[in-house]
Symmetry: D2
Subunit: 352 residues, 4 copies
C-alpha cells in the first residue's frame, strides 16, 4: 500500500508522467500555523537541475494545498495536496516501451503487476518523493514547535568521506554548497568527483548522515516498532538506499561492551549519559540524547551512456543515454532523508 | 504495539520473569502440515547455555501449541502458543529495583511508561525473542513448501571477519560449531576471541549474514513497504541490532554505476541478471535472485563485571556482575535473524 | 483517520468549502479497464438539485483522475482524484461562525479538535461522500467483472414503507423516479410526502435497502471482521445513518429457530440453502446466496426554518433557514450505500 | 485477522475443542490496578449452565494471566491470558464430521479454508467470546477510573418486549434474574417463554440494550471511524447478531426533523442538549450525553431436535439433537455486549 505512518500518515499517489503527483496527510494536529512558503522551499530543495553538478531538467513543482487548513492553521482534518507534472516528456520514454532497464524496477513491476508502464518507471520514479518532502515539511513544522530539529547532510560521495563527528561540524553550512556537505573543503572534493563522474557518463553513490535533536525521552516502542526500526524502514524506503545504521552502527560490531556502554550520570538536575554510542535510543525508546543515523545510497542505475539489456521478449536491446539524470543522488537525498526522519519522529511522538 | 506483520502476523507477550512468554500467529495458511519437533529445535537453537562460549543458564523452554491445528495440520485459525518461564530468578533482580543499567532500556521504559519493572528488563529481555523464533519456525515450514529457504550465519565477531561471499561457503556447516560460522578456520578464531572476552568479563559485537533463496520474482511493494524496508525494520527490531544492509550495502556508496549495475541476459529460457549487486530486490520487489543482507549487533551492555551507574533518584549506584549473560550475542542471533527473515518474506508472499 | 478498507482502501480529504475534495484509491487491481464516464455518472447520481423533491443547489462536480491509469486501464498504482468545489459560498456560513447547530457535529468537532471551522461543517459535510462514490464506482467495475452487482433503493420514507421483498421487485426501475423507489405506486406516495415535508420547512428520514448478488461462497472473516460487521461499519459511517440490519435483522429477535434456519439441499449439482434468513452470510463468511441489508437514516438536522440554539459562549442564538438542503436524504443516500457496499465487498474479496 | 481495536487491541485464539482459548491485550495503560477477581466474575457471567433456563454444560473457565502485570498493576506491556478447555467432548462431534449444519458456519468455513474442522464449529464457537469478556473486563476497569460505566440488559426475548426507556429502569436489577432483564415482571414473562421454547426443543431470539454513561465530549472520529460505526462493527461481530441501532435508530426513519433534533441549552454552566435522540454521538464524536444502542440476535441455529441437512458430498444427512445448547442466547449475550462496548469506548478514548 502507499501509506506511511500510523497517527501521522502520508498516503501518496502519482507517476512521473501522469497528470500530477500528490498525497493526503492524515493525523496532523489541529491549530498549528503552517508556513506554506517553507513547505515550498523544502520542495525546491529536492528539485533536480539546481547546479552544475546536477542535471538540466527544470521541473517547476508548485505544491497546491486543497484542504485541511483554515485561516493559515491546520484544522485536524486531512490535508490534500497536489503537484502538477508540468512537463511530462512521455514520448522520451517510447524507446523504453518494451525494454527492461538494468538495476531498475521495470522487470520486477512486470512480475508483480503483469503490466508494463514504461513511462519513466511508474511509482519507482524519483518524482514519488515529492509527496514525502511535502508531508515531511508539515511534520517538521509541528516538531519545531517542540524544539525538535532534523538536519541531514552528505557525509560521503564515492570515496570522498567526511568522518568528522557531526558535533564538530557547523551544520548551518549544509546549504552553502551544491553537494550539501557542511565541511567546505570536503564539499569541494565531492564536487570535483561528481563533475568527473558526469563527464564520464557515469553515476556515483554516497552516504547521508542525519541528526535529530531535541527529542524528549520516552518516544518509541519496545519490541517490533522500536524507534530505530521505524527509522530504518523509513530510510530504506527511499529509492537507491542500500544500508542503514544508527548510533555506533556497523562499527559497533567490532567493539567490546566496556568500550561502548553509555554510563549514566546526573549532570545538573537530570539524568544524562556521558556518551552516546546508543544513538539516542535504548530498547527502542528515545533517551533524550541526539538521534543520529547514516543511510547508504548506491549509484543510480540510469547511466549517461548506452547500456545493453533485454526486452520483454528476452531479445537483446539497448537503453539509450538521455543525459537528464543526476550523476549523484546524494544532494537530492538530503531533504528526502530529513523528510522521512521528520515524519517518523512526529508519528512516534503522536503515538506516545 | 506488540504485533509484527500484516497477512502473517505474530502478536507476542511475556516478560522474562513472568509466568510465561508466548504469542499468537495469525494468518497462517490452512492445511499445512507442521513438524512441531522442528519448531522445538529452532527454539533450542536460541537457548543460552549451549556451550563453553555461552553462559550457564539452562532454560528449559518447551513450546506448547494451544490452538489452530487439527490432526497435525494448520486450520487457518490463529495459533496460540506459550512457553513457561520455568525458573524465574526474580530475586536475582532485587538489587536492580531502583537502578538504571547503562545502555539498557531501564531509563527509557521509565520515561515512557512511568513504571519501573526491574525484573530483568521487562519486554526488552532476550526472552521476548522466543515468540519470534516459534513464529518464524512456522513461517519457514510454509516457505519450504515453495522451495524458499532462509540461512543465516556469523560473518563477524569483533575484529574477526569472514569476508568470503556466501556463494563460496558451505552453509551446511553453520551448525557445526558453537559460533555458527560456516568457515571452520574462522570459527576457531571467533571461538578463541569469545573465550578471551568472557575471561575479561567483557562482551563483544558482530555481524550476522542472512541469505534467502528461492523467492520468486514479484514479491514486495514499490513505495513505502519495499521488501528491503520491511526486512530492515524486522532486523532492526532485534535487540542490540545497530545496522542493516542488503545487496551491495554500504560498500555501494563508494561505487560507480557502471561497476554495479546488474545486466539482464536471457540464460536458457528466462530473463536473468548476470550479477546481483541489487541483492535480489529492485524497486522494492524481488527479482528472483538470492536476497542477502547483513545485520550488525553491538556488544550487549550486560557486562560480566561491576558497572557504575545511577539510581532512579539520580544517586550513584553499582550494577553488580551476575555472570549469566552470553559474552557474544551473535550465535544466538543467528536463529532470530532467520526467524525475522522468514516471517517477513512469508508475509510479503501472502500479501502478493 | 480518513481511510476505509484494507486491501482496497480509500483515503479521502476535503471540506465542503475548501478548494477541492478528493481521495486516493489504493489496492485497485492492475489491468482493469475503467469506464470513467460511468464513474462520473455515479457522481452525478449523488448530486443534490436533481428534481422538484430535492433542492436547487447545482453543484457541478467533475472528477479528475490524476494517476494510476494508463491507456484506459488501471496499473495497480494508487489512483489519485480530485473534484473541485466550484462554488464555495463560504460567506453563506458567516452567520454560523460562533453558533452550534443542533444535532450537527459543530459542538463535537469543537470538543475534539478545539477549533471551530464554521464553513458548512467541515468533514461532516455531505460533500465528503463524493470521494466514497468515486471509489465505489471503481470497486463496482472490478466487481462487475466477477458478476457481482450491487443495487440499493428507497424502501421507506417517513411512514411510507415498501415491504415487498426485493426478489419481487423490478430493480431496473430504481432510477425511474426521483426518490429511487422501484415500486412506482409507492414512489408516488413518497414523492407526495417529501413535497409536503418541504412545504412545511421540515425534513424526513427513511430506509435504504441494498442487495449484493453474485458473491461467491467463502468471502469474509470468522471473528472480529465478519463480513456483516464490516458492512455495518461501512453503512453506519454514512452521515445520518442510525441503524443497520442484514438478513432477518431485528425481525429475527422475535422468531424461533425452527422458523428461520436455512435448510441445506442439493439443488442440481451444488449445495444450496432453501431459504435465506441468514442474508447470505454465515459465521461472518459469504455462503453464495444474496447478501441483503437495510440502513436507517434519521431526518437531517438542517431544517428549512429558523431554529433556536446556543453559540460557543453559551448564549442563545438562532440558526437561520437557508432553504438549500434536501428535505429527504434517502434518494441521495442510495448511491452512497451502493458505493460503501461495493468497496466493502471488493475489499473482502481481495483479502480472501 | 483475529484482532480487535487499535490502541487498545485484543488478539484472540482458540477453538472450542482445542487445549485452550485465550488472547493478548495490547495497549492497556500502565499503572492501573486490576481486580482479577472482578475479571473472573465477568467470565462467570458468560458461562452457560447457570440456571433452569440455560443448559447443563458446566464449564469451569478459570482465567490465567501470564504477563503484563506487576504487583497488581498493569505495566503497559501486553497481557497474555489463557483459559483451559477443561472438558473437550470432541467425540460428541464425531457425528458431525462430514455434515453441514444448517445456518451454521460449517459450509462457509469449508468454502473459505478448504478444511473441515468439525469439532464444534472452530472459531465460530461461542467459546471464542471468552477472550472478549476477559479483555472487556480490563477495559471496564480502566474506564471506571474515568467514571465511565457500561451496562447492558435483555430488552426483548421473542415477542416479549421491554419498551420502557432505560432512564426509567433500575439497572441495578439486571443481575437479579436469569434472563438479565431489569424489569422484574417482564423478566418473569421472558423466563416463562424461554422454558416453553426449551420444552419445545426450539430456540428463540431477542434484543440486548446497552448504555454507556460518563463518556466525555470529543471521543470518536468524524468520517469512516465514527464512534457509532465502530460500535456497530463491534456488536455485529458477536455471533448471531443481526441488527444494530443507536439513538433513535430505525424508529428515526419515520420521523420528521422538527420532532427529533436535540436543541442545545446552557443548563447551569455548560452546554447541554435538551433531548438525546442523537444517542450521545454527533458527527461520529461523543457529545457528553449517554450513548445507548440496541443489538438484535437471531435464535441460535443449534436446535434441541433433529434437523435435516446435507453432508459434504451433497447427500442427505441428519444433525442429531444434543440438548446442550442454550435455548436463548440473550442472557449470555449481555456481558459480551458490555465487553465489546467497553473495548470500543476505551480504544476510542485512547485514540483521542
Amino acid at each position: 500500500m502507499n501509506s506511511f505512518g500510523n497517527r501521522f500518515r502520508l498516503t501518496s499517489f502519482g507517476e512521473s508522467h501522469g497528470a500530477a503527483v500528490g498525497g493526503i496527510i492524515d493525523g496532523m494536529e489541529p491549530g498549528i500555523a503552517i508556513d506554506l512558503d517553507a513547505v515550498q522551499r523544502e520542495l525546491d530543495r529536492r528539485r533536480p537541475g539546481q547546479s552544475a553538478v546536477t542535471t538540466a531538467r527544470n521541473e517547476k513543482d508548485r505544491v497546491e494545498v486543497l484542504s485541511g487548513m483554515f485561516e493559515g492553521k491546520t484544522t485536524g482534518t486531512p490535508i490534500g495536496f497536489i503537484v502538477r507534472n508540468a512537463d511530462q516528456h512521455s514520448n522520451d520514454y517510447d524507446n523504453l516501451r518494451d525494454v527492461f532497464r538494468p538495476s531498475h524496477a521495470d522487470y520486477t513491476y512486470m512480475a508483480k503487476y503483469g503490466i508494463r508502464d514504461h513511462r519513466g518507471g511508474g511509482r519507482s520514479s524519483a518524482r514519488e518523493t515529492i509527496s514525502r518532502v511535502v508531508a515531511g515539511a508539515f511534520a517538521r513544522q509541528a516538531l519545531a514547535l517542540r524544539g525538535i530539529t532534523v538536519t541531514a547532510y552528505a557525509s560521503q560521495i564515492g570515496n570522498i568521506v567526511l568522518d568528522t563527528p557531526y558535533q564538530d561540524l557547523d551544520l548551518s553550512l549544509v546549504e552553502s554548497n551544491v553537494v550539501r556537505c557542511p565541511d567546505l573543503a570536503t564539499a569541494e572534493r565531492m564536487i570535483e568527483l561528481v563533475k568527473q563522474v558526469k563527464a564520464d557518463g557515469d553515476t556515483i553513490g554516497g552516504v547521508v548522515t542525519c541528526v535529530v535533536q531535541g527529542v524528549p525521552a520516552g518516544i518509541g516502542d519496545p519490541v517490533f516498532d522500536k524507534l530505530h526500526a521505524r527509522l530504518a524502514s523509513a530510510m530504506m524506503s527511499i529509492n537507491a538506499a542500500k544500508g542503514f545504521e544508527y548510533g555506533m552502527g556497523f562499527a559497533g560490531a567490532a567493539r567490546r561492551g566496556t568500550e561502548v556502554i553509555d554510563i549514566w550520570s546526573t549532570a545538573a538536575d537530570h539524568i544524562k549519559a556521558l556518551s552516546n554510542y546508543s544513538g539516542g535510543i535504548q530498547g527502542g525508546i528515545s533517551n533524550g540524547e541526539d538521534i543520529y543515523m547514516r543511510v547508504a545510497f548506491k549509484p543510480v542505475a540510469t547511466l549517461l551512456r548506452d547500456v545493453q539489456t533485454v526486452d520483454i521478449h528476452g531479445n537483446p536491446a539497448v537503453v539509450r543515454a538521455k543525459g537528464r539524470h543526476d550523476p549523484c543522488v546524494i544532494p537530492r537525498a538530503v531533504p528526502i532523508v530529513e523528510a522521512m526522519a521528520a515524519m517518523t519522529i512526529y508519528d512516534a511522538y503522536l503515538l506516545t
